[in-house]
Structure formats: C-alpha cells, structure tokens
C-alpha cells in the first residue's frame, strides 16, 4: 500500500505525465482580405504564424494525435502527403528529446533532433503550395 502511495506521489510530481500525446498538423497559410476566421484548433498558433511567417488566414488540412513515451518510435501521419516518424530518445525532466523525420510521400525532407516541451510547439516551414505556405506543427500535450 505504501509502495502504491509512493508511486502515485512520484507520478504526480513528474512534469511529464505517463500519457503524454504528440499532436501534428498540416496547415495551409495564406493572406486574404478580409482575413479568414481562424479554425478553433489553430487559434493558439495563429499569432506566431502571423508574426513569423506573415500570413493571416489558416486552413487545417490534416491532424493526428497519438501517445508518446520514452523510447517509443512511431509514425505520426497528419496527412497522406506529409508525415513524420517520431523516435523518442530520452525523457528529460520537462521535455522529450526526439528525433523527427519529416517525409513528403516517399522522400525524406528533414531530420531533426529537438527537445519538445509540453504546449510549446515546433513549427516547420514546408513548401509553398500555390500562393500559400504549408506549415507543419508538432506539439506535446
């Protein structure tokens, strides 16, 4: 019993929960007049996208969420055209150290090693599509 209480206390003190999720999205950003209403799921990201990338209208093309834990490796597929392989290398006190491979179809576009903290997204500037900009979002939740 004491062991169970101790384990529960340890879990509650840990900054990263046992059931963390990693969420990915493919977003098309454009400039429109008037600006399009931001989709609810993208409202937290809109200010940064506007400030960094310079676009005022967002379209959510796809999203996917799944669990992440230390030493896991899995595909994360927000869209059939752009998707990730996420390998969790280590679980540090407040973040996951991950290797992220971004694919477009069969081609590897990018390999990055990053520390992902909870509710602190990673934005990846993808290719331009028509007159818009594709942006990929990754966030631990």
């Amino acid at each position: 019993m004491k062991t169970l209480i101790a384990l529960a206390l340890m879990a509650s003190l840990s900054p990263l929960a046992a059931e963390d999720n990693i969420w990915a999205a493919l977003v098309l950003s454009t400039n429109e007049n008037p600006p399009r209403e931001v989709p609810r799921k993208l409202q937290d990201f809109a200010p940064t996208i506007r400030d960094v990338f310079g676009y005022n209208s967002l379209y959510l093309l796809g999203q996917k969420k799944q669990t992440i834990s230390a030493w896991s490796s899995d595909w994360l597929v927000p869209s059939s055209d752009f998707f990730f392989k996420i390998t969790s290398l280590a679980q540090e006190s407040a973040c996951y150290r991950v290797r992220i491979e971004l694919f477009r179809g069969k081609s590897l576009l990018l390999t990055t090693e990053s520390r992902l903290a909870r509710n602190a997204p990673l934005y990846i500037r993808g290719p331009q599509w028509g007159e818009g900009q594709l942006i990929l979002l990754l966030e631990v939740r």
Binding site: D51, V52, G54, R115
Partner: protein
C-alpha cells in the same frame, strides 16, 4: 576615377606600390562587407587578404567595364560565402546544449519595445540592427547584405550564392520581416 585608372595601369605592369594604394582605397569596404556576412573579425581579415591577392593575380582579366570596387566586392562576397559553406560542412560539436548546437539564428525573434510609441533614435536603431543581423543565420544575413548594401538583383544574388531565385526570395522575405520588427512601435520620423 582617373587616379584609380592610373594606379590600375601601373599595377598591371607589376607596380606593387600602385597596388598598395589600391588596397588602401578599398580595404575598409572589402573588410566591412566580409564582416557583415561572417560576423567574425579573423575570418573577415582572411577574406580581405584573399580578395586582394586574387585581384592581383587576375588584374589582367579585369576589363574595367564595371568599377574596380564592384569587382573586388564580388571576389569578397564569393570568398565569404565559401567560408559560410565550409562552416556548415564542419562536424558538429557533440555537446548536449541546444543553443550551441543549432546553427545561428538561434535567438528569439525581436519583440517590439516595451513602450510602444516611444521614439527610437538612429543610434538605437543601429544598435538593434546590428544585434538583429548577428542573430540571423549566415544565409539570411548574406541575402540582406547583398540586396540592401551591395544592391544586387535577385538573380545576381542567386548566382553568387549558388541557389535558386526562389530560395533568395524566401530568405530575403524572412530577413526583411525579421528586421522590420525592429521598427515596431517607433515613430515615423527619426
């Protein structure tokens, strides 16, 4: 210009004294161009040396259609870009520190001054501009210097940097937006 033409003619005949004067006329701007791209005094000095040595060896090929300074700047730009590429190809230090491992531009985007509406004078702008340039990646910094200071066309920049015009546009877009954030909250007149 006539004096420079005379110096050039003498230098082509092997007159190192004339070339010494040419170096003196152009050394500050050559060094400044390299320093703005590389943000490192030692590397900029290396580029300045290399630029004038290459110019000496190629004096016979200089046809005089463009100003001598333009020709020297082209050599300096290419030499600076070579150093940027060499830096990128160096093995990364295997250290467990995100800020040191990320290649440049690993600063936060500059935020507006805390008191919007309070004017910024020219001196403040120069200081913030210098900090912002230092924070840009070498690629972004190079395009902004080549466009805004050297006044090259997009196509000329693409050729110098051995990349596409599309990539030049993208880098220029980002670098300009980044620098424009320095102007947030300022008065219209300095």
């Amino acid at each position: 210009m006539d004096h420079e033409k005379e110096l050039l003619d003498r230098a082509r005949r092997g007159d190192t004294g004339a070339f010494d004067e040419i170096i003196t006329l152009h050394r500050q701007r050559v060094y400044a161009l390299a320093f703005q791209i590389l943000r490192n005094s030692d590397d900029a000095m290396d580029v300045a040396q290399e630029t004038f040595l290459k110019a000496w060896r190629s004096l016979a090929k200089f046809d005089g259609r463009h100003p001598l300074g333009t020709w020297l700047h082209r050599i300096a730009t290419n030499a600076s870009i070579d150093i940027v590429r060499r830096r990128q190809n160096r093995p990364q230090c295997a250290i467990d520190d995100a800020e040191l491992a990320v290649d440049a531009a690993s600063r936060t985007t500059p935020s507006a001054p805390e008191l919007p509406g309070v004017g910024m004078d020219r001196r403040d702008l120069r200081i913030r501009l210098d900090e912002a340039l230092a924070a840009l990646s070498p690629e972004h910094r190079t395009v902004i210097i080549l466009r805004e200071v050297e006044e090259l066309s997009y196509e000329e920049i693409a050729t110098r940097m051995n990349t596409s015009t599309g990539t030049v546009m993208s880098r220029l877009y980002y670098a300009r937006r980044y620098l424009q954030t320095l102007l947030k909250g300022t008065h219209d007149e300095f």
